[in-house]
Symmetry: C2
Subunit: 195 residues, 2 copies
């Protein structure tokens, strides 16, 4: 046996996903060809198939990895506390995490319709899991009496849409720092759900 590990595949494999990530985010899944990805990696198109069974898996793997990373990062940061404290932490976490991964976020929201039905269901389940934490916080806040009684499901969708929208205009070299953006959005979220 020869060339088991430590050879090119350790380098090329991640580079394939990286190139797909960047290109899908920039031009969209359907508009990017396997040959473009290969060129970015520096190999011929055929070589990509040592690392993915097909183009669809490339998209699915990127989305799955993103959602699992998101859930893991959130899980390891979660703390007990009042609903208000937890909502603030969730808000700041969401903004910061999404600002740091704009390509992944863009793909995860824009390319859902390019997933096969089975892959779509898998990604939706992960997304739902993430949304459910926010909804639980909002419900807890209602019980505590600090948040207004409302339709928590819609509040959840509204808050996430508002927060995720930050990725459409934020630029690192822009007028505001990520800290300031966090604070501004937290102000709005807090007021929007409070009594």
């Amino acid at each position: 046996m020869a060339r088991t590990a430590g050879s090119h595949s350790d380098i090329t494999g991640p580079r394939v996903l990286d190139a797909a990530l960047r290109l899908f985010a920039r031009h969209g899944y359907a508009a990017v060809s396997m040959r473009q990805i290969a060129k970015e990696v520096g190999v011929q198109a055929g070589a990509l198939y040592n690392y993915t069974p097909d183009k669809q898996s490339l998209l699915f793997d990127l989305m799955k990895r993103h959602m699992e990373d998101l859930l893991a990062a959130r899980g390891s940061r979660r703390r007990d506390g009042t609903a208000l404290e937890q909502l603030e932490d969730f808000t700041r976490f969401h903004i910061r995490y999404h600002l740091d991964r704009s390509d992944e976020v863009f793909i995860a929201y824009m390319e859902l319709r390019n997933l096969t039905p089975e892959n779509f269901a898998a990604i939706e389940a992960l997304r739902r899991e993430y949304e459910n934490e926010l909804e639980a916080i909002l419900r807890q806040g209602e019980v505590e009496g600090v948040f207004a009684p409302a339709d928590t499901r819609i509040e959840t969708m509204a808050v996430i849409a508002m927060l995720t929208g930050v990725t459409t205009w934020y630029r690192a070299e822009g007028r505001l720092s990520a800290d300031e953006v966090e604070r501004i959005y937290w102000d709005m979220v807090r007021k929007a759900v409070s009594v």
Copy 2:
């Protein structure tokens, strides 16, 4: 001269745009072929070129029409009043209009990157015009002292992202009526920007 107006072009022309609208919204611009559009209309692919110079113009025309219709509809509904009254009207208008045109909205937000640079600039200008009305309302509210002093540009982006997000989950046959959705979102928007 013969067959000037009143012939097939009056029927086929709009049907081309309608088919493109539906297909682009469902599958995405890059994933839809001219032959698919032609089949939906009931003609051969070549006949489409009597109604559009190319595929790109189809996308641009759809977006331009949508943004211009949006601005016209908003303009004809605009009334004088307090900042709070105007914000409520804007909020309810935006939700209702976007719920009624989910295909157009979806395309206008998802297919921006498939526009040529010139076409992109034209659509962005129209979008900016729409956003500016909301920002003016928020600024007026600050002057009146009824809205909290804040970064009105970011508030604008946040509110629009929140409101437009309604199109991702709302279904006409679902649990909530459009009226109820309007009220829930208006509650959140009002609180989010108020002092």
